[in-house]
């Protein structure tokens, strides 16, 4: 098992290097260079320009510049934001828990609703229930989530007044961040009202962000279950006199989960992309909103660092999914 994990981890390194190349290249494709960006509209005399270019090391060969960049990245130096002058890494780390909290809740929603829905649809194949689940999940899959978020706000916040429109918690509550996760921090503060407020702020963003993963999980679970339910070993299990519920939840589901886990791993990318939209709409102070602001302000160090860090997280998540895949699928573990 350890060997399996190490082999998989080894595969991550080239992908990570590829991402750094890509991010490095993206920034170099920007018309004009950092010096021009500094000089602004007024222009700059050629001598000063040349000196600055040399100072920034922009006259060196590209590969030297890349290796220099890579060295900085590996030392954890991702540069500083142009607008706030804060190091990119520390800004990211401050904001990341908010995105993580939201993404986690969205994924939880997707699994808690999507898995049972998919299983039910497969077991009750070609019934009204099946058609309903499939119709709803295809609609969810096709949903523009920024619009869906607006509809949710329109219904629950504007019309019914049940939930707040934006932010993570009511400004009434003020307590020191311990973990960065508002639900946990509000619990630690010992104020029940704070927890309630944090929870109510979380509900709509969670639904908005969780909709697409939910739809994907439901569809994938259904098709995987349908395939597995036809297998010989399911018949064997039934011939052993095992109850229907146990056949479905233990024998069939365990095998059906193998493809579903892969899909769940892929959804982490979707979640981060969705966070860009969801956080913008709900003014959720996370990575997504941060990146959009950075792009609008042309804060390139933040864009560069933010993309690199998000991509690294996705790679790490995919790695853990790969390992989890080995745990639930004994055939993979020993062979490759």
């Amino acid at each position: 098992m350890l060997g399996f994990i190490l082999r998989r981890a080894g595969l991550v390194i080239p992908t990570f290097l590829g991402i750094t190349v890509l991010v490095f290249a993206l920034i170099h494709m920007i018309p004009g260079d950092a010096v021009e960006a500094l000089s602004g509209e007024r222009g700059m005399d050629p001598a000063r320009y040349a000196r600055l270019v040399h100072e920034f090391g922009l006259d060196r060969p590209l590969y030297v510049q890349y290796l220099d960049y890579l060295g900085q990245v590996l030392r954890g130096n991702l540069g500083a934001s142009i607008s706030t002058h804060e190091p990119v890494l520390s800004e990211f780390l401050t904001l990341f828990p908010a995105t993580l909290e939201l993404s986690f809740c969205a994924m939880l929603l997707a699994l808690l609703v999507g898995l049972p829905a998919g299983i039910l649809a497969a077991v009750k194949r070609n019934t009204f229930l099946d058609y309903t689940v499939m119709g709803v999940s295809l609609t969810g899959f096709s949903m523009p989530i920024f619009w869906w978020a607006l509809l949710l706000i329109l219904l629950f916040s504007v019309t019914l007044g049940w939930t707040p429109v934006s932010g993570r918690i009511d400004i009434l509550y003020d307590f020191p961040p311990v973990t960065g996760f508002m639900l946990i921090d509000s619990l630690l503060s010992g104020d029940a009202g704070a927890f309630k407020s944090a929870l109510s702020h979380l509900i709509l963003p969670t639904i908005a962000l969780g909709t697409i993963p939910l739809a994907v999980v439901a569809r994938m679970t259904r098709s995987a279950m349908l395939e597995v339910l036809r297998e010989d070993y399911v018949r064997t299990a039934r011939a052993k006199g095992i109850s229907r519920l146990r056949v479905i939840t233990i024998h069939a589901l365990r095998n059906a989960l193998i493809p579903v886990v892969t899909v769940i791993g892929l959804q982490v990318g979707t979640l981060l992309a969705g966070a860009i939209l969801t956080e913008t709409i709900f003014s959720w102070p996370g990575i997504g909103k941060w990146l959009v602001y950075a792009i609008q302000r042309r804060d390139y160090p933040v864009v560069q660092g933010g993309i690199l860090l998000s991509a690294s997280i996705i790679i790490l998540v995919n790695l853990s999914v790969d390992i989890l895949y080995g745990v639930i699928n004994p055939r993979i573990r020993r062979s490759t």
Binding site: P14, G18, L22, L26, I27, M29, W147, L151, Q296, I307
Partner: protein, 307 residues
Amino acid sequence: MSESTLTEMPGSAEATSASDAPPHPLRELMRYFFQNRGATVGLAVVCVLVLLALFADWVAPHSATEQFREATLAPPVWQDGGSSKFILGTDPVGRDMLSRLIYGTRLSLLIGFVSVSLSLSLGVVLGLLAGFFRGVTEIAIMRLMDVMLALPSLLLAVAIVAILGPGLINAMYAIGIVMLPHFARLTRAAVIGEMAKDYVNSSRIAGAGTLRLMFICILPNCAAPLIVQATLGFSNAILDAAALGFLGLGAQPPTPEWGSMLASALEFIQSAWWVVTFPGLAILISVLAFNLMGDGLRDALDPKLKQ
């Protein structure tokens, strides 16, 4: 099995061959496709969208940008204060919603078409190269594709637009590039699968050149998954373009693009529901239609499911 035999019964063999001549593959495909009610509905909606886009100038009651100053934020016709002049109401500067939505169809389909064509053609070439030449070429291309896949599509699109600058054309490029790895991977997998087959060997022996082998022999045989992916790519492109427009990185006002229409109507969410609801509904319906069609095509083209 020992009892079975290769000798066919003469009578029955002739009888079946006369009545059940194998149907033309395309007709068979259509039969499976139209058996799927969802796919049929999807295709119908797509046809309507295409017609709307083509004949927008005749269908739309007003111009997409004409501002009726006397009727800003007019509600839809069925609500109090609505008029039949503006069936779906007007936006904050008095432009007719229905007309803007109809012209928006043109933009969305155009974005879909351009970005899918871009990524399809590039992706197919990359996939063919990788699958055909293997070795270093393959590793270089596929590694790059893996790296691109590691980034969420919208994040990558946002990054590309951030660099190229916001705008409709750049959004198309960005979306096209983002979808590239899917086409390249599909093509490569199909090519490698086909390369192992005897018909490729026989045409190689017959003296077919590399280009002929690549484009005439192999590519048509990989078409099925590419067609499905292209259809689904349309829905992705429409969705991502709308998202970019919504973030202010895609089409710029006053272009009647659905996503940017939504973004500019945000502040009126409480007072005028229609300016927010209809553009989103248009996106949802067109994305849903392409997804239904793509699902139907996949099922119809997948020989495993036919049996």
